[in-house]
């Protein structure tokens, strides 16, 4: 079973002359423990694809399955539950709630899921530790650097131990060395913690960390390439065990 599977995914914006087919019958899949990058020119439908897979938006046609679960069969609440438990999001901007500190931001999905704040915070602290921003845990987003913010965002995406991480140009506002660090972190996420990642990026250096690259154009997937990454012998810690 794939972590993500889409069939003929189609999203049309607007109507009449102003109609835009942002996504045109896209079918793809992402394996467990696979890191997939989506690339393509601006406006080709990458974000739209991610939104549909993440259940943030509903397709006009086609379907999305997450861990075999058809999203169209879910009502808003169950969709939300699924999103919280199985998907972690990382956006380009505005990942974090400005009024919450790093720790509370990280703990947010757990708290929303009904976990006791104390426990949620201790788990969040663990992840901040793993992502090496533990010393910044009581800082608010505006007191963090761009790279630190994205680390906190990853921590937040991982804290519920989701099977899938969706990231939309997460390195868009990072300098190249920070972007490199970030990509390494994502790679580690896949290799050490066994997560799957679907990432949108313009940056070939980032996509070079992926197992597979999908090229998009005008709402379609036009090309698929596999990277032959020299996988280091990393022990995979299975948190689900």
């Amino acid at each position: 079973m794939y972590v993500v599977e889409t069939e003929n995914l189609t999203r049309i914006y607007g109507s009449g002359a102003a109609q835009v087919t942002a996504l045109d019958h896209v079918s793809l899949h992402v394996d467990t423990g696979e890191f997939v990058a989506v690339m393509g020119p601006s406006g080709c439908g990458k974000s739209t694809l991610l939104h549909l897979i993440g259940g943030l938006d509903r397709p006009d046609e086609g379907m999305v399955r997450i861990d075999g679960q058809d999203l169209s069969a879910l009502n808003d609440d169950s969709l939300t539950d699924l999103r919280r438990e199985r998907i972690g999001f990382i956006f380009q901007f505005f990942n974090l709630i400005p009024t919450l500190d790093a720790l509370d931001n990280t703990a947010l999905p757990l708290v929303l899921g009904g976990m006791k704040p104390a426990e949620a915070q201790s788990r969040a602290a663990d992840w901040l530790e793993k992502l090496e921003v533990a010393d910044r845990k009581s800082h608010r987003p505006d007191e963090l650097s761009g790279g630190q913010r994205q680390r906190v965002a990853i921590a937040r995406a991982l804290v519920t131990e989701p099977s899938l991480i969706l990231a939309d140009e997460p390195t868009g506002n990072l300098d190249s060395s920070a972007a490199g660090d970030f990509a390494t972190l994502l790679r580690e996420t896949v290799d050490r913690w066994g997560r799957s990642i679907l990432l949108v990026t313009h940056d070939p250096r980032i996509s070079s960390y992926a197992d597979r690259i999908l090229q998009m154009k005008d709402g379609r997937i036009t090309e698929e390439t596999r990277n032959n990454i020299d996988r280091k012998a990393v022990v995979v810690e299975d948190h689900h065990a």
Binding site: H51, G54, L56, D57, D76, D77, T80, D81, R83, R84, E85, G88, F89, F91, F93, F94, N95, I97, P98, T99, L100, D104, L108, P109, V111, L112, G113, G114, P117, R140, P141, D142, R149, R156, T160, N173
Partner: protein, 853 residues
């Protein structure tokens, strides 16, 4: 002018918010404009009878401060003064009628007859008293020189109500009974107080009727051309020193003048508070809007807009909203004034026997409303606009768009504390203008200090919220605690609204509750026989002691006590009321609510040199038990020692002295009873007794009888009628508070659109978002309630105090029920105000919320 289109495009881009903001201004302006438009009509109503005496060509009026009588010979003394060309003497005196005795065709009860005694030998045209102050004669004739007998001019409604015409007879109540007068002329209707009928008669007839031989209460004079007015006044002052007024009649201790003053005070307060509220809402809206647009503004600056341009853009936005709000508000204000007239008119007619005129919008009302309607919003926008102009181009590059609150500054604390002190000082200053100002400063101080205390208060309620709302409650509390300033501003509108509600409610509660309590304490008898009405004035024609004797011997009467009264001057030359009581029976049947001293004081009155003063007297002249007061007796000054301070229902608004009837008759020559309180024997046939009592008062004109039950019912009715009007206005004031809260909460949601989108993306359900917003609102409401109650209680104490200046001494009573109602209303407001924003927040489409700029 390139800012204007920019400003308009911003306003159009946020239509809901713009409308909410306009609405808040509309309500403030509406209340201010509407109430001020109504005020002149009310003033006319109250003044109509007072001013009817003041004639335009008269230079000099001599009256006693309390309106009492003096010797007619003084006219000659005035005439003798160099420069006084002509003089005349006059009597203006109200006489109460028993209820439902005379009525106008419209069923308005004529409760008082205002007797004008006119010197018919007067030749000077300046005193157009002969033409009844310029009133139009409809039929018959005016008074003529040589008229000295029992002839009278009455008004048309009065004549129609009586069903009589010229040449027929009207009976008027006098000191010796009902006196028949021949109607010689019928005048057009007087001003507005139809329940107070003016009748014009020769001065001799008036003196007969009132049993005041050779006495008058007004002397008027006209100066010779080119005479030295100052010199004349100096001469007059030496002639009429203490206790006299040398200006047009001011109505003395008139009930209506006190009421009028009180109403003006309340109207002004309402308008000010409503606009302050609008200002607050405006400030909040713009502050948020600026914060939200930081990136836009930064961008503008980056592409070359000067600070000035940014500032002007925001000011234009404020101006556009202010203009729209003010215009709309004024239109609605007119509607409001007419609506209020329609709604309150009937109440006033039954209460006061008058009709309210049409609302009148004077130039000053326009000027003040426009000044405040535009000024308050503009001032409120000034700070946010300045904030906007300080946004750096760099802000455009920053990813976060939400207000980054800095630690609360020390200067804020200091300014807040200073304002608090100033505000409280103003509130307790005792000067109305300062009190109103103090109130505004006080509210400002709360706004400034709010953020400082909001975190502690939030954490105080945090637990409860957590229990009630679970995780979402915790989140909500977190949101608030982290943005104390925003929270403080949000709560302020609710706080101000509640403060007004509790303040006014508490005051009204004190008035009505207190009044009924006094009524209970001071009039416990089964029946009250009274001369005229309950509000006894100096001119009330009393009954000789025979009446009391007759009643005492009546079968079925267990006990009775009588009261007499006269108004005299005290050592300060100020009119005070003396009430003569029979201490033992008064203590049994009536009684006082004692502030200082106790019942034992009644015994000490019988010694003849001690008195009880009421609270008004004590506070006005600063006396307390053991002090000595001096009163002007008939032929000498009398010193009396204060044995106690107490209150009764009928006399709480005037400085009053209670003394033994023996002293009153010895020193002041008053022998007649104005009130007789009667207790029936248990088990006696009430109907028989009532019949006997009615028979006994038959020969005493102006005497009426009212049972305890009737009295209660009628007083409660008065209280109720009064509260209806007030409640309407209260509700009107609560509306902007609700709107303000809804507005602030709505803006909070709009401001956090992306944040909410993100929350939903990472797994918050719609319900959770909704609950979070409602929880936030509830918490903010709780804080608003806590603040509102505190300031409201303070306000109500102060406003009750203000009443004292309007002549009502009322002990403050804690508005317990009002408090509970306010808490409930506040919480309800909080939830109601949150519903729409919460809906909006939970209905947000995640993708578009994330893309929200």
């Amino acid at each position: 002018m390139r800012e204007l289109p920019l400003a308009i495009s911003y306003l159009k881009g946020r239509p809901i918010r713009s409308i909410m903001t306009i609405l808040s201004i509309v309500i403030g302006v509406m209340i201010m404009f509407g109430l001020n438009g109504m005020a002149p009509a009310f003033q006319d109503l109250f003044r109509s009878n007072m001013e009817s005496v003041a004639l335009s060509n008269v230079d000099l009026y001599v009256t006693r401060t309390d309106g009492s009588f003096f010797r007619q010979e003084y006219v000659q003394d005035v005439s003798a003064v160099q420069g006084v060309e002509s003089t005349t003497a006059m009597i203006v005196q109200s006489v109460s009628l028993p209820p439902e005795h005379y009525q106008t065709p419209d069923g308005i009860d004529v409760s008082t007859i205002q007797v004008y005694g006119i010197d018919t030998s007067v030749t000077d045209e300046a005193f157009n008293v002969m033409t009844a102050g310029g009133r139009r004669l409809l039929t018959g004739r005016l008074l003529q020189p040589g008229d000295t007998g029992l002839v009278v001019l009455i008004s048309e409604v009065f004549a129609e109500g009586l069903g009589i015409g010229v040449g027929e007879v009207v009976k008027l109540p006098g000191a010796g009974g009902w006196v028949p007068f021949e109607v010689v002329g019928i005048l057009d209707d007087p001003g507005l107080l139809l329940g107070n009928q003016q009748v014009f008669m020769p001065i001799e007839a008036a003196q007969d009727l009132l049993n005041k031989p050779n006495r008058v209460n007004i002397i008027m004079g006209r100066y010779a051309e080119g005479s030295d007015a100052q010199a004349i006044e100096l001469a007059m002052r030496s002639m009429f020193s203490r206790g006299y007024e040398l200006s047009p009649l001011e109505g003395g201790a008139d009930v209506w003048s006190a009421l009028l003053e009180f109403m003006n005070v309340i109207f002004t307060m309402f308008g000010l508070l409503a606009l302050a509220l609008a200002g607050l809402i405006m400030f909040n809206t713009f502050r948020t809007s600026v914060v939200e647009r930081r990136r836009d503004i930064g961008m503008l600056r980056a592409v070359g807009a000067k600070r000035r341009v940014v500032m002007r853009t925001i000011l234009y936005e404020g101006l556009i909203l202010a203009v729209l709000g003010t215009v709309l508000g004024m239109l609605l204000g007119v509607a409001f004034a007419y609506g209020a007239r329609a709604g309150l008119g009937s109440i006033f007619e039954t209460l006061m026997g008058g009709t309210i005129g049409k609302p009148r919008f004077e130039a000053l009302t326009f000027a003040v409303t426009i000044a405040f309607g535009l000024g308050v919003p503009l001032v409120s926008v000034l700070l946010p606009a300045r904030g906007a102009s300080q946004v750096t181009p760099l802000e455009a590059m920053r990813p976060t768009t939400v207000d980054q609150e800095k630690a609360v500054r020390r200067s804020r604390l200091i300014i807040g504390l200073i304002s608090l002190v100033l505000g409280v000082a103003g509130l307790i200053s005792g000067i109305f203008q300062l009190m109103a100002l103090g109130m505004l400063i006080f509210l400002l101080a709360l706004g400034l200090l709010g953020p400082l205390v909001i975190s502690p208060i939030t954490s105080f309620f945090n637990r409860a919220l957590y229990l009630l709302f679970g995780q979402e409650g915790g989140l909500a509390a977190g949101n608030i605690a982290r943005q104390p300033r925003r929270a403080a501003i949000t709560t302020t509108s609710l706080m101000v609204g509640l403060a007004i509600l509790i303040g006014l409610g508490g005051m009204l509660g004190s008035v009505y509750g207190g009044a009924l309590r006094f009524l209970d304490a001071s009039l416990r008898s089964d029946y009250i026989l009274m001369a005229g009405g309950l509000v006894v004035t100096n001119d009330t024609v009393g009954a000789d002691p025979d009446l009391a004797e007759t009643v005492r011997r009546m079968p079925g009467v267990e006990d009775l006590t009588t009261m007499r009264q006269v108004d005299v001057l005290n050592e300060d030359g100020i009119g005070v009321r003396l009430i003569g009581i029979d201490p033992p029976s008064y203590g049994r049947i009536a009684g006082l609510s004692f502030i200082e001293g106790d019942k034992s004081a009644f015994e000490r009155l019988q010694g003849g040199n001690e008195v009880i003063v009421n609270g008004r007297y004590a506070s006005q002249f600063g006396v307390s038990v053991g002090d000595t007061i001096t009163l002007e007796g008939d032929h000498r000054l009398i010193d009396m020692k204060v044995a106690a301070v107490g209150l009764d229902y009928l006399n709480m608004k005037l400085p009053t002295v209670y003394m033994d009837q023996a002293v009153l008759s010895r020193e002041f020559g008053v022998h007649n009873d104005v009130l007789i309180l009667v207790n029936a024997e248990p088990g006696v046939d009430r109907e028989d007794l009532e019949e006997d009592l009615l028979a006994a008062i038959e020969t005493y004109p102006g005497f009426g009888i009212i049972s305890r039950e009737q009295l209660y019912a009628s007083q409660k009715q008065v209280a109720r009628s009064g509260t209806i009007g007030m409640n309407i206005i209260l509700a009107l004031l609560a509306a902007p508070a609700l709107l303000g809260l809804a507005n602030a909460l709505g803006i909070n949601v709009i401001e956090r659109t992306r944040e909410i989108g993100m929350l939903r993306a990472v797994g918050a359900k719609r319900r959770q978002v909704r609950r979070m917003i409602v929880a936030e609102s509830l918490l903010l409401s709780l804080v608003g309630i806590a603040f509102g109650i505190t300031s409201g209680l303070l306000l109500s104490v102060v406003m009750t105090g203000i009443l004292e200046f309007a002549g009502l001494h009322i002990p403050y009573s804690f508005p317990g029920v009002g408090l509970l109602t306010s808490i409930a209303a506040g919480l309800l407001c909080g939830v109601l105000a949150a519903l729409i924003p919460a809906r909006r927040a939970s209905d947000l489409e995640i993708v578009s919320a994330l893309a929200y700029e």
